[in-house]
């Protein structure tokens, strides 16, 4: 462990995560990581290992903080998630588009595009993230069907996958240089499609 007296592993990991989120894996150098984490190079290596290990830790940190918060509505027991939660989930993205950080997109989706295939651990983390999205949406859709909020004959596996793909679409669109109003219209289009189930 580094002997720097203000060193806090969680703060450091949070800064490292934000750097990878902003710049991507390839464009982030150890020099960038040292500069942004406030930890000396030897401290970063000693505590977390090299860039690849730091990246895996950053992805885990992202899953346990940003994603855990975003998916909390699908993973809690009470109230049980239903169509309302799916609409809230996409509605939240529209609200977040006002924030400059919307240009970051989603670290897991960026990783799926940029480097996932380089590293088996990262491949597995991306796949687990998709599976977690899938489980949340399927749970809410099944409840919505039981509640009569969507048609009895709704193809739940297909709509589930439609929603997983739509998350990739909107986070990629949000990270692109497209005007925020266009991304917003796309998300409103997803919400309109949900009204027709």
């Amino acid at each position: 462990m580094p002997r720097h007296k203000e060193f806090d592993p969680e703060t450091c990991l949070d800064q490292v995560m934000h750097l990878f989120w902003q710049k991507g894996y390839q464009d982030t150098s150890m020099a960038d990581l040292v500069q942004h984490s406030g930890v000396q190079r030897y401290g970063l290596y000693e505590t977390f290992g090299g860039k690849q290990q730091l990246f895996q830790l950053a992805l885990n940190w992202y899953l346990n903080t940003v994603i855990a918060q975003r998916l909390a509505m699908f993973e809690r027991n009470q109230p049980e998630p239903s169509l309302t939660e799916i609409k809230q989930f996409f509605g939240q993205f529209i609200a977040d588009l006002d924030h400059p950080s919307s240009f970051l997109g989603c670290l897991m989706c960026n990783t799926a595009v940029e480097v996932a295939s380089h590293d088996e651990t990262v491949v597995s983390m991306v796949q687990q993230y998709f599976e977690r999205l899938r489980r949340g949406f399927a749970r809410a859709l099944n409840r919505a069907r039981q509640n009569g909020e969507i048609a009895e004959n709704t193809d739940i596996p297909q709509v589930t996958e439609f929603l997983v793909g739509s998350v990739l679409g909107l986070t990629t669109y949000a990270r692109s240089p497209a005007p925020r109003k266009d991304v917003q219209t796309y998300v409103r289009g997803i919400l309109t499609m949900l009204e027709r189930l």
Copy 2:
């Protein structure tokens, strides 16, 4: 111009494009480009300039070949594109998922995630690509409404943006390590939504 007697700028550009498509901008070195294009480093610099210029040329080449072919059905005059062409466009992605190259995703969408914000020329090319998609979909949707294939009160700008975002969703999902069957189900979900317009 390099003096290499077999040198063909279009073949070279095609190889360069495929390399950037596969590896992304950041992870592609001049050494990779030299190795894959079969042109000496001095020849690449002399003919095309540096890596950034090569990347812009590769994006243009991609737009003029891959994208031009994919969007031909929306950009031709006869027959005028309608709902059938939109369904064919997405149906083609399902067919292409059988090919290992589906893991490449879309060079423009990958670029939007990875490096678009680094370079104003690239930002502008990504935006022009979105605008070209938008124009094609809007043209086909307007015709579909005139033909009575979709409801009279369809919100054309919203559905257009929904389709643009969906292209980003499916190409990102295709580039990810997700099983091809899940990507296929997502695209089938988009087609099901089109049936309800």
